[in-house]
């Protein structure tokens, strides 16, 4: 902004007083609030009364006034007819000269309520006035929005230059064919003064261009600058805040925001918040259900033990250990478990933990059904599986029979390794049943029992969980099952490895059989020790021998109890004799043995010279009240606490084992041997044409030779007969 030469004060002051009177008059004449864009030389119209005295003070020197204008221009952020001229060009204002014509002309104008026309009309007026004043020097005002409207500015510059030199050039590029910008001269209001209007078209065109530029909608949205300014000024004038200058920034922002975020209908819901409300409704049902049934069951609950554990107490202890989900989340889990207990016939229930997934996470509950409540679903599933298998074998046999007739296809000698039968429910790895849900409030889904082959394969792969139970697990070696099976297998592994309790809490029952039973590697059941007194916390932390595993170790076979896969079952005996012989050729498999139940943790194998467990006191500052915390290094995320007679395990993590080495996927299997070649399947090359012809020729020769012989013999016989 160039500094204009200071104008003589004297002419400006009387004009200022005149302007002030002008202002007040005009202010009173305003009946309706309307957006009024700031126009140079008419700045005084727009600001409220409070600013008028200020403006009058600023009128003292044109320089300050210029500043004031620019301030106001930037403050009210109005697009006026900003003539952004290059500094080199323009000098200062001749405010006084311009002002002379100013008041008288403006007064008689009736103000229309529409701001749009106002702008153009005022602008054209002003331009006319400018035209009047000799030696037009336009003030430089900084546009509030520094829009890169280079073209227009350039045009304006040109225009001003032209005006300055009094030339009237044709401005071709201004021509716009926009009917929206046309306004009928009749609405303009009257110009009682007869002004020369030399070449109004270029000026009008310039004005139209300026307005078109303002009305230009931004690329990202439908809002144009013009509309936004209209909104903003309407808002200001409606609300008449105390100090709009200071509030301008926030007003601007809120106006913009409101344009894009219309206030909610009372009838329609905000679409974005919909899922949140739904979830909240569902969770409310959690709390509501318990509240509703409370009155009826109150008496019963006091008497009977509920299967739901005291989650809040355990959450408190875990929080001391620095592990946990937050107290309100824990409460919601508590409510969800309660819901589960009500829905299913459950004897005992425990919150196992949380497994994080890519899109969603799993909350896992470990339950035990009541006696006799066998899972009907499981049996149905098994039957379906077996039925499918039977069908397949039938199909194969039929196919073989058909094929035996025309040709014998050599049968492959490869047989799949015998499937290891899965463990029965309530034993081994399938001792407990697991339910999962994604969030408390959502229905619980049951996980199927785990089969040994699934555990074996799960040991070989490492995949993130996606959060959807039916997602396929794509891996090599191929995992037999979908994500639900993989999840169940990992849960089984984690449980077997990290469920621990203080030494002495559990003890073996007294009615166990011998340890050397076939297929058994120790006892597989335990019971609570009623005489357990609790181990001091310091001792628990010091030595790992004070903790024991209370879940069975899973053998490499995938089961907890060993099963010899070579044992012939009834199905296998139905096969042909040949295959039995093949069976006998297989090697003897050794029995797999694992550490027995209730093994202390000190016996656990080390990971790369690192102890597999880390024990701490929860709070070193107050050891007398703290809790012993043991974290697993093998399965990061598994944690257990013990304090007095209470203990608990939990797992919160991604569900993968820790391995200091990188994960190496197994190599693909070696290529199987081809069938040994023999004469039956040896490929022979077809005879070529020459060979065939040669053969044919040879055969014909032989034929011909034999015919000749026959003829000779006939002739001989004939000759003999003749004699």
């Amino acid at each position: 902004m160039g500094d204009p030469p200071p104008n003589p004060d004297s002419p400006s002051q009387p004009t200022s007083s005149r302007r002030n009177s002008q202002l007040s008059e005009r202010w009173r004449s305003q009946e309706q609030p309307r957006p009024q864009p700031t126009v140079p030389y008419e700045v005084q119209q727009t600001p409220p009364d409070a600013q008028i005295p200020r403006s009058s003070q600023e009128v003292v020197s044109s320089q300050t006034n210029l500043r004031g204008w620019s301030q106001r221009a930037s403050l009210t952020q109005n697009e006026n007819l900003m003539f952004q001229a290059e500094e080199a060009q323009l000098g200062g204002i001749e405010y006084s000269s311009l002002n002379t014509g100013f008041p008288s002309e403006i007064q008689p104008q009736p103000y229309l309520s529409e701001g749009r026309f106002q702008v153009t009309r005022d602008a054209s007026l002003m331009l006319q006035q400018l035209q009047q004043g000799e030696g037009n020097l336009f003030q430089q005002l900084e546009a509030a929005y520094q829009e890169p409207g280079a073209n227009l500015l350039g045009q304006f510059t040109m225009y001003q230059r032209d005006l300055q030199f009094g030339q009237s050039a044709e401005h071709g590029p201004y021509l716009r064919d926009d009917p929206a910008l046309q306004f009928s001269p009749s609405e303009l209001g009257f110009m009682p003064f007869s002004m020369e209007m030399p070449e109004p078209e270029p000026r009008e065109l310039a004005v139209q261009n300026a307005k078109a530029y303002l009305l230009q909608t931004s690329v990202n949205c439908d809002l144009s600058l013009y509309e936004h300014l209209v909104n903003l000024l309407t808002k200001i004038l409606n609300q008449r805040p105390e100090n709009p200058l200071f509030l301008l920034e926030s007003l601007n922002r809120t106006t913009q925001w409101e344009w894009f975020h219309p206030k909610l209908d009372t009838l329609r819901d905000d679409p974005e918040m919909q899922p949140i409300y739904e979830m909240a409704e569902r969770q409310k049902a959690l709390f509501g259900g318990s509240g509703g049934g409370e009155g009826e069951q109150e008496m019963e609950e006091e008497v009977a033990e509920t299967a739901v554990p005291n989650i809040m107490e355990k959450a408190f202890y875990f929080e001391q250990a620095g592990v946990g989900l937050g107290s309100d989340e824990s409460f919601r889990i508590f409510m969800a478990l309660k819901q589960l207990v009500e829905q299913q016939p459950i004897l005992t229930c425990r919150f196992w933990g949380k497994i994080l997934g890519l899109s969603r996470s799993y909350l896992v509950a470990e339950v035990e059904f009541r006696e006799g409540e066998e899972e009907g679903e499981e049996e149905e599933m098994e039957e379906m599986m077996e039925g499918g298998d039977v069908m397949e074998t039938h199909g194969e046999e039929e196919g073989e029979e058909e094929e035996k007739i025309p040709d014998v296809i050599p049968k492959p000698t490869w047989k799949p390794p015998p499937a290891i039968p899965k463990e029965e429910s309530r034993s081994g790895a399938n001792k407990y049943l697991y339910f999962v849900c994604n969030e408390p409030g959502q229905p619980w889904a049951r996980l199927p029992h785990v089969t040994p082959i699934q555990i074996v394969q799960a040991r070989k792969i490492k995949k993130f969980f996606t959060g959807y139970l039916d997602a396929p697990v794509i891996s090599y070696p191929p995992f037999p099952g979908n994500e639900a099976n993989y999840l169940r297998a990992q849960i089984a592994r984690i449980s077997a490895a990290t469920q621990i309790s203080p030494l002495g809490f559990y003890q073996f029952g007294e009615e166990e059989g011998d340890e050397e039973e076939e297929g058994g590697a120790g006892r597989d059941s335990y019971e609570e020790n009623p005489d357990f007194d609790g181990i001091p916390v310091l001792e628990l932390v010091d030595s790992m021998a004070n903790w024991v595993h209370h879940t069975q170790h899973i053998l490499p076979q995938g089961r907890c109890t060993w099963v010899n896969p070579l044992q012939k079952t009834e199905e296998e005996e139905e096969l042909g004799e040949e295959e039995e012989k093949a069976d006998e050729g297989m090697e003897e498999v050794e029995q797999e043995v694992g550490p027995p139940l209730l093994t202390p943790l000190s016996e656990d194998a080390e990971i790369m010279h690192m102890s597999p467990w880390t024990a701490r006191l929860s709070c070193s500052l107050s050891p007398q009240y703290s809790v012993a915390v043991v974290r697993s290094n093998l399965w990061p995320g598994a944690c257990a606490y013990a304090s007095g007679k209470k203990f608990e395990n939990i797992y919160i993590g991604w569900g993968h084992k820790y391995s200091p080495e990188n994960f190496n996927p197994p190599l693909p299997a070696p290529i199987q041997q081809e069938y040994p070649s023999g004469p039956e399947i040896m490929e022979m090359s077809d005879p070529t044409v020459e060979e065939e012809q040669a053969l044919k020729a040879a055969q014909e020769q032989v034929l011909a030779a034999s015919e000749e012989e026959e003829e000779d013999e006939d002739e001989d016989e004939d000759e003999d007969q003749d004699d």
Partner: protein
């Protein structure tokens, strides 16, 4: 996460399971305030916790006015040395918990003596402190994130906290492109002109998470019934970023073993 909103932040980040015990929280609150006063930081972030075998490290970071200026990291409130050790990538395994512990790593180096080439085994000793430093640095460069709009860049180049940040909307919060790496941008110049035209230079001055390699190394989830968006890094498991949409609560915390998940491509 900001030290001022530590309690709320810990509550919001608790979905990953690891948090702080109440006594730790209390001591942290006081010590973070003292750190802010002593070191004259503008903002103090509680960076997280690295679990070691014997003890854990509690890490805090102090920021000056300019948010992207190099941060000072403190562990257990001792200022860590500034030098970056790139050799520490050879050290694998868990942290011990003792900063003076030394890892020994034998390298086979080729030593030229005259015309012969020997292969000698050189035992390189790396202190755990330097390893800690470089791990924190790596984690910061790789996975420290902020939502779009939380920081803005003034025309002079300095980066400030945006006090008018109202939070991401729900639809924005589920997209990876609404989150930026909290470090100097690397990929900005590789963007096409079309993309650059849409960017706002005062807000989009950092790399977004969209183009992270490998693709899918971030897991976005809504928790608490869609009222909280949580991003977890799969490359450095243990880093959790949380944000409540439509509010200005956000932050990240790292609680983990300080090891990179190199098996990530197999696991996706």
């Amino acid at each position: 996460m900001d030290a001022e909103s530590l309690l709320l932040s810990l509550e919001l980040a608790s979905g990953s399971g690891q948090g702080l015990s109440p006594d730790r929280r209390a001591s942290l609150l006081t010590s973070l305030t003292l750190v802010k006063r002593d070191y004259r930081f503008d903002r103090v972030l509680f960076w997280g916790r690295i679990l070691g075998l014997v003890a854990d490290y509690y890490i805090a970071q102090g920021l000056s006015e300019d948010q992207l200026a190099p941060r000072k990291t403190l562990y257990r409130w001792r200022r860590r040395p500034e030098e970056m050790a790139t050799q520490t990538s050879v050290v694998k395994g868990r942290f011990m918990g003792d900063p003076s512990h030394e890892y020994e790593h034998t390298e086979v180096q080729k030593v030229n003596e005259g015309e012969k080439v020997f292969e000698e085994e050189v035992v390189v000793q790396i202190k755990e402190e330097t390893r800690l430093v470089s791990v924190i640095d790596q984690i910061d460069k790789a996975v420290a994130i902020v939502p779009r709009g939380a920081l803005f860049k003034t025309p002079f180049g300095s980066i400030n906290v945006n006090r008018t940040f109202e939070g991401l909307s729900l639809s924005e919060a589920k997209k990876l492109s609404s989150y930026f790496h909290f470090k100097e941008p690397v990929e900005l110049k590789n963007k096409t002109l079309l993309e650059k035209a849409d960017m706002d230079p005062s807000l989009d001055f950092m790399d977004s998470l969209e183009h992270d390699i490998p693709k899918g190394s971030w897991s976005i989830q809504m928790e608490r019934g869609n009222a909280l968006v949580v991003l977890r890094s799969l490359l450095w498991p243990g880093l959790t970023f949380y944000h409540t949409p439509r509010t200005k609560n956000y932050g990240y915390i790292y609680v983990g073993t300080g090891e990179k998940n190199i098996d990530l491509p197999f696991m996706l």
